[in-house]
Amino acid sequence: MLTYILRRILTMIPTLLVISMLVFVIIQLPPGDYLESHIAELQSQGESVDENKIAFLREEYGLDKPMLQQYGQWLFGMLQGDFGYSFEYDLPVTEVVGDRLFLTVIISITTILFTWIIAFPIGIYSATHQYSWGDYGLSTLGFLGLATPNFLLALVMLYFANVYFGTSIGGLMDAEYIDAPWSTDKIISILEHLWIPVVVIGTSGTAGMIRRLRANLLDELQKQYVTTGRAKGLPPGKLLRKYPLRVALNFFVADIGNLLPTVISGAEIVAVVMSLPTTGPILLSALQSQDMYLAGSFLMFLALLTVFGVLVSDIALAMLDPRIRLGGGANK
């Protein structure tokens, strides 16, 4: 087991290295650089551009250096904990992202909890009551959630929340609480706003999870050990919780790998539409304006979390499921 973990950690290094190269190259692929898109933006708004200043910034930001050198500096900086400099914000990357991480984590965790609370009972119910009216009804609802475009749902809900409840549109709190110290009013204002993104982001996740839980559980419910248990007189509830449900949960543990990065990045598109103060919109605008160190460092952070999350879920799976553990042993 220990060697397994060690080997996995060692393979993470070249993986991350390749990812860093890909990230850097892809961010640089569109023509021009940050300053050119900056000039284009200024001009489209009719503002004057000072060529001297642009030349100064190009040198200051190191954009005049060859790409390989820029990559090298960024990579070595990251190893020392320096994630580079955001041109757009004129601040070190850590300061730009840092502020928003907290709210992003709040939204993401609430959304995940929401998803679980809704999806688990429904998934279990529709597996145990397969092809009943309840199963059909709830599945239809789930599919609706899966099929409705998130951003559309977001806009519709924003509008009605504003017209009927007077909630301010978008954002995560009323304007006067932004950057204000924490207080009860501020928390209430956040709760007032939080439910819309949670429901919107949650709906599609809920639907997916219901389907997966249902399918996995159905597979198990057909198996002979369930029939045996039932024949031996185990109460249905205890039987379900003790055996098939636990086996069916493997997919759930495997999901942890994907969970970690989503907790940090939030749902980008919905966040942009609803103008949530999370990290998603920062990443998107950084990519658009070719603010390369901000975008690059952020993507690297996500990649690191993904790789790490996959590792965690693999280890958890191995501990949880003897079949995986023993299968691994048999190969040696």
């Binding site: 569109p30 030349a55 601040l91 502020d99 301010s168 978008g170 950057d179 539409v273």
Partner: protein, 635 residues
């Protein structure tokens, strides 16, 4: 716009009276009384300069009361620079009638447009209370503009006339003189710009970041903290009066940023040392603070409709108008329609520097450009896309402008397919393929690819309509959407045959504004990028203009710069406008497109009608937002 003579006389009389009593009967700003009493701030008579600028209210405006917070919505953090544009305190500034007038300066003298003597206001202070003197001009000129490390290429090119830098003299604490041997017509308009040329900087604050005044150890420490490689990086970062990202930077604007980025909400507080006052002895601005909430730009119309902004025009578009109007019934705001000030809201740019020789020859033939224009059904576009709210026009000055002549707007924009076909036949494009599309001399069909920046459906809708009428003239049109950067690079490199973009940035020029947009002077002119680059780089890159008319425009543009009288400048402007009319280097479609402006019903003094453009209007700037005020419910 002109006031009757009596009103002017009366106004002048009142002004004199109040000017005599300028510093008597001053009213302390309620929100600052606590600070004045505690001694943190001096009383108002010591905060205003000895000779404050008296706000001149228009007939539709009233003197107001202090107080209130103005809420605005912006799309991104960088947009907080809009407050510097709206605030519009400049050394000299435009009036709503577009005349230049001293503002921060008490007065100025321009001798032959080449010697400029600037008189500062005695007792005028920066927003931190430090005196504003000629030392601030000296610091900029000697320690920034002429510092080889801070300004690599030397001072801004607006200072350089025929390779000559000005002689700058600091005559006394309150007088500065810039003199050239040739006229510099760019100098004053640059000081009055939305993004002005800052020829003064808060020396007392910035010195601590300058290698000439600060020890190396302290600088090194600052560099490490800010993550900069050179001291210049720190200095530039601290010294951003236009971006307003540094709350510590003293300013002369009506409102001062008080929030350090990154943030989602920025508060601009009143500048207690601002130099304007109203006739009742109240120091401006009336409004105590401005709160800017950053929201995704796509949500701004919706949020504005929900009354989350008191004064909003940015990120609103004409197609939000009906939504905003219906929201105005539920909320307490008013939707007004202002005019946009561009020479053409949409214009086609035939690329005279395109790489394809067959198309290049066609584009350079004025008959071809005119035929294209005649084959556009502008009335239909006006009806279909703009509900008949706009004017069909060439890309030229607007009808309200002093330089306007009807033929500039109307020559060659009538829909006349017969004439268009006749012109195209004259060009020898008589062969057609089985679709009825004309053939080029080399046998290829006449298919024009129009590049769009892919940003608005408005442009593609218009192209769709042009497509149909051009086809009747035997020309096939394709629109090619891309992104803004790709779009520009295709034009610069000559891959683009034609492109669509907005027309002249300033549709309301005065003869004192440079006519350079009418001549090939920069590479960002999409009809002749190479010729523009040639001029811009003084012949180092690009190509010399080959058409006689384009060469003549360059000569005229240079003559304008040397002109010493207003009459000469007016004559040159007309010559250049006329050449552009005759040659139709750009094909304008429509102008006078209205722009929705949402104004809270509790906010007074915002004009009912106005021009919404950055140059020369600085958006709300020339209407002086420091004179806007709130009624008692919001104070």
């Amino acid at each position: 716009m002109k006031m009757p003579y009596k009103a002017i006389a009366l106004g002048a009389f009142l002004l004199q009276i109040s000017a005599v009593n300028a510093l008597d009967g001053l009213v302390e700003t309620p929100s600052l009384t606590a600070q004045v009493q505690s001694g943190e701030l001096p009383p108002v008579e010591n905060r205003l300069p000895r000779e404050p600028q008296l706000a001149q209210l228009r007939p539709d405006q009233t003197a107001g009361m202090h107080g209130g917070e103005l809420r605005l919505l912006m799309g991104k953090q960088k947009d907080i620079r809009q407050i510097v544009i709206y605030g519009y305190a400049r050394l000299v500034g435009y009036t709503p009638e577009l005349d230049l007038k001293a503002d921060i300066l008490e007065s100025y003298e321009a001798f032959e447009n080449r010697v400029f003597t600037l008189h500062l206001r005695e007792g005028h202070k920066w927003s931190d209370g430090h005196p504003f003197t000629s030392e601030d001009f000296r610091y900029y000129w000697e320690d920034i503009a002429n510092n080889p490390e801070l300004s690599k290429g030397g001072p801004d090119k607006l200072f350089i006339i025929d390779g000559e830098l000005p002689k700058v003299e600091y005559l006394d604490k309150y007088t500065v003189r810039y003199s050239w041997s040739m006229p510099n017509p760019y100098f004053l308009p640059a000081l009055a710009g939305a993004r002005p040329l800052y020829i003064y900087k808060p020396a007392h604050y910035l010195r601590q970041f300058h290698a000439r005044y600060q020890s190396e150890e302290v600088l090194q420490q600052m560099m490490d903290e800010a993550g900069k490689r050179k001291w210049t990086g720190v200095h530039v970062n601290k010294d951003r009066p236009y971006k307003a990202t540094n709350p510590d930077l003293p300013t002369l604007q009506p409102w001062v940023n008080s929030t350090y980025p990154p943030a989602e909400r920025f508060i601009f507080k009143r500048n207690p040392f601002y130099h304007r006052m109203d006739q009742n002895g109240r120091q401006l601005p009336y409004i105590d603070s401005i709160a800017i909430n950053i929201a995704s730009s796509k949500l701004v119309p919706a949020k504005t409709g929900a009354y989350e902004s008191d004064l909003q025009a940015r990120y609103l578009r004409m197609d939000n108008y009906t939504f905003l109007k219906s929201s105005a019934k539920r909320n307490d705001f008013d939707v007004r329609l202002w005019q946009t000030g561009k020479g053409a809201h949409v214009a086609l740019y035939p690329n005279l520097n395109t790489n394809d020789p067959a198309y290049r020859e066609l584009m350079r033939d004025v008959r071809f450009r005119r035929a294209l224009s005649l084959a556009i059904h502008r009335f239909e576009i006006n009806q279909v896309v703009y509900f008949r709210l706009v004017q069909e026009s060439n890309n030229t000055v607007l009808a309200e402008d002093k330089l306007y002549k009807p033929e500039y707007q109307f020559d060659g924009i009538e829909f006349d397919l017969e004439h268009a076909n006749q012109l195209l036949d004259e060009l020898g494009l008589t062969q057609r393929d089985d679709r009825g599309v004309r053939l080029l001399p080399d046998g290829r069909p006449l298919e024009i690819l129009i590049q769009t920046a892919g940003e608005s459906t408005e442009q593609t809708d218009i192209l769709e309509l042009i497509h149909d009428s051009w086809l009747d003239a035997g020309i096939k049109l394709y629109s090619v959407p891309s992104t803004r950067e790709v779009f520009r690079n295709r034009i610069f490199s000559g891959d683009a045959i034609m492109s669509i973009w907005s027309g002249l940035e300033n549709g309301m020029p005065t003869p004192e504004n440079s006519p350079s947009d009418l001549a090939p002077t920069t590479k960002y002119q999409y009809q002749w990028p190479q010729w523009g680059a040639y001029y811009e780089s003084s012949g180092k890159s690009g190509e010399a203009p080959e058409l006689p008319a384009a060469r003549e425009l360059v000569v005229l543009n240079d003559q304008w710069a040397r002109a010493r009288t207003r009459e000469e400048r007016i004559a040159i402007w007309h010559q250049m406008l006329d050449i552009n009319r005759e040659q139709m280097f750009t094909i304008g479609i429509v102008n006078h497109v209205p722009h929705p402006v949402v104004v809270s019903n509790q906010l007074y003094n915002v004009p009912a009608k106005g021009f919404y453009d950055i140059s020369p209007g600085s958006y709300f700037g020339i209407y002086k937002p420091d004179t806007f005020w709130f009624d008692e419910t919001r104070r």
